[in-house]
């Protein structure tokens, strides 16, 4: 049975993706800085849970060593932290670092920790949860946008680094409150989970380096 690590596993997207992957036969590990919430989410879907702060590289590496190797990684930690921080030039510079640590370095830490196991196994799939703001910077979240842009291009670079090892890396752009309102959807977590499950499956064997928009076309407005 293949193992998948889902960071932000107790979150709205993380837990939905976990539920969908359990249905596909994955052994799912939900990792979240809120360990209690991760336990509850895991119990509900038949997964296991750990407490994990993705901004702590040593902790992520320990988790990967202890619970890995993983055939799958979904980086869903961070949620929309920083997305509505407000105008950049009115922000407190002391608030920028936390957004970068969670939204960009959290993904770097997770990929770096899980990749050695995938490289050794000569296979693996990574799905990075980015955001449409990474392709089109948003004035209410300039730092968030910068981080998500970074995650999208990191995904592309990792394809080049990982292709010889049989590892595929893709990014997903889930909706945001605006796109949900526009498409009159209450929640897009199940749709995002469906796409994540597809990208981690053999059906997507020839899909790597893709940035897939699950915003119901919001970015076209």
């Amino acid at each position: 049975m293949n193992s998948v690590l889902i960071t932000g596993g107790a979150g709205r997207l993380g837990s939905a993706i976990g539920k969908r992957l359990v249905a596909d036969g994955w052994r799912v590990l939900l990792a979240d800085k809120d360990g209690t919430a991760a336990e509850a989410a895991a119990k509900a879907i038949g997964a296991t849970a750990i407490t994990l702060d993705v901004t702590d590289l040593a902790a992520v590496e320990r988790a990967a060593a202890q619970h890995g190797p993983f055939a799958g990684l979904v980086t869903a930690a961070g949620g929309r932290f920083g997305a509505q921080a407000g105008p950049f030039t009115e922000s407190d510079p002391a608030t920028w670092r936390a957004i970068v640590e969670l939204q960009l370095k959290g993904v770097l830490n997770s990929c770096r920790s899980v990749l050695p196991g995938m490289i050794a196994a000569k296979r693996g799939g990574i799905v990075n949860i980015a955001a449409i703001e990474g392709l089109r910077g948003h004035p209410q979240g300039a730092i968030f946008s910068a981080c998500k842009g970074g995650v999208i291009v990191l995904t592309e670079t990792l394809v080049r680094e990982c292709r010889p090892h049989g590892i595929r890396v893709n990014a997903l752009l889930p909706g945001n409150p605006d796109s949900l309102a526009k498409s009159q959807a209450a929640d897009d977590a199940a749709d995002v989970a469906e796409m994540a499950a597809f990208l981690l499956s053999d059906k997507a064997a020839r899909t790597t380096g893709a940035t897939i928009d699950v915003t119901a076309g919001w970015s076209l407005h």
């Binding site: 030039t89 770097l108 910077g137």
Partner: protein, 260 residues
Amino acid sequence: MPTAFVTGGGGALGRGIGRALIDKGWQVVLADLKPEHAEEVAAALGAGATPTTLNVNEFALAKAAIDKAAKDFGSLDALVNCAGGTMALRVPKGTLVENDPEHWDRMINVNLFGTFNCAYAAAPHMKAAKRGGIVNIASGAGMRGGPPESRQSGAAVYSATKAGVIAFTQALAQELGPHGIRVNAVAPGRNESRAKPLAKMIEMQQSEEAREPGSGRASPLPRPFGKPSDIGDAVAFLLSAEADYITGCCLDLTGGIRLH
């Protein structure tokens, strides 16, 4: 005479940008981590160039240097975030898994926080004047992932930070547009520099190609690599009245390297 503050002003790109701006009538403050580099470029550019020392990682220093430039020259009309261009060179070659995470912070601090710090410090001067221009130096790597394995140096994080600069540019353009401030980015590709003159660039490209066919990327144009003046001309254009309706863009200056 309008004043432009150019970070990384002591480097090859900073010099190209300084030259182009001075030729168009700008007063240029060249800020560099290495005082001797800023002084050398300022001396070479002559009248209109003023060197200063700055570590863009430090917000308080960036604010003090930019405030001083605005005070000394009476206005702060443009900011060019060019520091960090050579960061990748000082990061050992390797993949995300191989690189030392300490190097990630070096690139994140200069390329992202350096840009944030200086933009934040410059914005109040421009808002007060109800006009201004910011050009962030991104990279072709920030538009389509890092270079292939044969010549990467911290490529995964370097390209991520440059993509961050592009998305930040788009966000800031929307925020500052109502104040009459335009914010754009340029994405240089492979350029000649002091350390890598044309002959060296051609030699590198040929050895990449020999090692891994297809990896030695060059422009489809007769001139295979860019020059600092290419970047300078583009920056001077984006800061000029001719570009008055251009904001939030990232101008591809790779000479078409990204097309293959």
